[in-house]
């Protein structure tokens, strides 16, 4: 079935100058093998074409069940120079996991991540005096 990476993986991104790196984390060996096969540097470069001008390099860290993508010429000039609101590339991880891949149904059934439960936050906000 077709599924977005957001339902299978964790992520974190950060900047170095005009370069952004995104770590993509699997939660099982099976998902790691799958993303290692299908989430290639080329695929990520295509996905980020509207935001990133430079090359994408991929590194593997099996001990972390992680892939690490380095995106060059990615921030519109880098933190102190870019006009973008996200001047430090903090949201690039979330943008990566928009990517949809093909995954076996049984793997998805076993690996799909649960939705966040933010009930406490809603209740707490509702308890405050608001206009």
């Amino acid at each position: 079935m077709r599924i977005s990476l957001s339902e299978l993986c964790g992520y974190r991104s950060g900047d170095k100058g005009n370069l952004v790196n995104i770590a993509l984390f699997a939660y099982s060996e099976d998902v790691y093998e799958l993303i290692k096969t299908v989430v290639t540097a080329e695929r990520v470069a295509d996905h980020f074409a509207p935001l990133v001008r430079g090359e994408v390099t991929r590194y593997e860290a099996r001990n972390l069940l992680a892939l690490n993508f380095v995106l060059r010429d990615a921030l519109g000039g880098g933190g102190p120079s870019t006009l973008r609101a996200d001047n430090l590339g903090k949201t690039f991880g979330g943008t990566l996991v928009r990517l949809e891949i093909e995954a076996p149904d049984d793997l998805v059934a076993a690996s799909r991540r649960s939705r966040p439960d933010t009930g406490w936050a809603r209740s707490y906000l509702a308890s405050l005096p608001q206009s």
């Binding site: 974190r12 005009n18 001990n63 972390l64 690490n68 609101a85 001047n87």
Partner: protein
């Protein structure tokens, strides 16, 4: 394995972090409190501070941290290492001295590390270095850097900090050093690790990398099961318990929220890293892919097996050069046709700016929004899910000229009454002013050009 264990803590992750977390670290019992205050962006801010006032250029929240930590330092329980000196470590040391005097504390040894600042040597190093100051990522020639240079600093390693600790410093203040060096240095000092003991140095650099971003190792900025992090309003900063063989346990203060487990730790391990098998640190190349993790439960993760390779003969250095002036403006638009209204207003605004004769080198148009306008009042069923309830328009621009960048935002204000309907215009963060843009130019400089200029001075308060 020697039974000696050292507890080091990451009490700050950036300039603007909260000093309130270090009280919990001190109470939990730590040997070293390391405060990492400098990002690339921070150096740009501090350079501007120093340009306005020669006595500035350090992170100005340093005294707040020191006021909390100094009584424990004076009692001999903890030592503090920080790069809060930024662009002006000597000024930061003066402030630290004043803070001690204000608290009536005496007998403290405050060390200052200088020598990272290479600004006055740009031409010399351009001619003399193997890199010729080419751009580290793009390989571009140095002369293609547009705009006046504003600062140029090398990322020093752990050596001068170790020298300061060996000389008995209680507080060490540096400028630009590699972030992880703040944490690696006390390990070298305490355990006597050799400068070619690559595996232990790599283990220390890895620990430093895990501690340098404060809450990011304890459940902050965490994409895993983030909504179940305990007491996220009380997120602790991390502690490493390190042994002489390089084994480390990452943990957090007992009395705190947050979480430390394999998932929170691995999230931080790759943060701002390129090749994880070759993490560039001035004192070692660390191979993060060799680390083994054991989740011990109760917010403890053991790390073993880290391998290292010899350090390179160069320091990374970062040059920032002027790259123009920016300004920004914002406006909000409500349904119906919120996006169409925002886009049209953006176009009207840009056209007005052009008609006024302002030169803009680059534009940025962004469209934001959830429920500022109209709140929870229901939408008609006919409005498709794809149609936004509202759109916040953010426009930013880059100009060559400071005054032009500042004047342009004024063109947004009249559009409240003179553009598509129900717009709500506000000035952006620069409130009609302008912000200088600085482009970061990373490069390499041989250590042999830098090290002779590195000094460690210790002053007793």
């Amino acid at each position: 394995m020697s039974s000696k264990v050292l507890r080091i803590a990451g009490g700050q992750g950036f300039y603007g972090d909260t000093p309130s977390s270090i009280a919990g670290l001190l109470e939990d019992g730590i040997d070293y409190l390391c405060l990492e205050a400098l990002a690339e962006l921070t150096l740009a801010i501090l350079q501007k501070d120093r340009a306005r006032d020669e006595s500035r250029g350090y992170t100005r929240d340093l005294p707040v941290y020191l006021k909390t930590a100094m009584p424990a330092v004076a009692a001999g329980r903890v030592k503090v290492i920080t790069n809060a000196g930024g662009m002006n470590p000597a000024a930061a040391a003066r402030v630290a001295t004043e803070t001690a005097r204000d608290l009536g504390i005496t007998g403290l040894r405050i060390a200052t590390v200088l020598g990272d600042d290479l600004f006055g040597r740009l031409d010399e190093l351009h001619a003399a270095t193997a890199s010729q100051l080419k751009h580290l990522d793009t390989g571009a020639e140095f002369h293609s850097a547009q705009g006046d240079p504003r600062f140029f600093a090398a990322y020093l390693g752990a050596r001068p900090i170790v020298e300061a600790l060996d000389a008995g410093a209680d507080i060490v203040i540096t400028g630009r050093v590699a972030d992880a060096a703040l944490f690696l240095a006390p390990l070298i000092h305490e355990f006597g690790w050799a400068w070619d003991d690559w595996d232990r140095l790599a283990a220390g650099a890895l620990v430093g990398h895990l501690l340098e971003c404060s809450g990011q190792t304890a459940g902050g900025n965490f994409s895993g099961d983030w909504s179940s992090i305990p007491e996220p309003w009380n997120l602790p900063y991390p502690i490493a318990e390190v042994y002489a063989d390089g084994t480390a346990i990452i943990t957090k203060p007992v009395k705190s929220g947050g979480r430390v487990d394999f998932d929170t730790v691995r999230h931080q391990l790759l943060y701002e890293v390129s090749d994880p098998s070759s993490y560039m640190h001035p004192d070692v190349l660390a191979d993060f892919t060799t680390a083994q993790f054991e989740d011990l439960g109760e917010d403890r993760v053991r790390i073993t097996g880290v391998r290292g390779k010899p350090a390179t003969p160069t320091y990374k250095a970062v040059l920032a050069h002027h790259s123009g002036w920016s300004g920004e403006a914002r406006a909000g638009f409500a349904w119906p046709y919120a996006l169409e209204k925002a886009e049209t207003t953006a176009a009207i605004f840009a056209r007005r700016v052009a008609e006024a004769g302002y030169e803009v080198a680059e534009w940025r148009f962004e469209y934001w929004g959830v429920d500022a306008l109209g709140g929870a009042v229901p939408m008609p069923e006919s409005a498709g899910a794809a149609e936004p309830r509202e759109v916040g328009l953010r426009v930013a621009w880059r100009c060559d000229d400071e005054k032009t960048a500042a004047s342009i935002s004024r063109e947004m204000v009249p559009l409240m009454l003179s553009a598509p309907p129900a717009g709500h215009t506000t000035m952006g963060r620069s409130a009609g002013g302008s912000t200088e843009l600085l482009e970061i130019w990373p490069t390499l400089v041989e250590k042999s050009f830098v090290d002779p200029g590195v000094t460690v001075t210790i002053q007793e308060v």
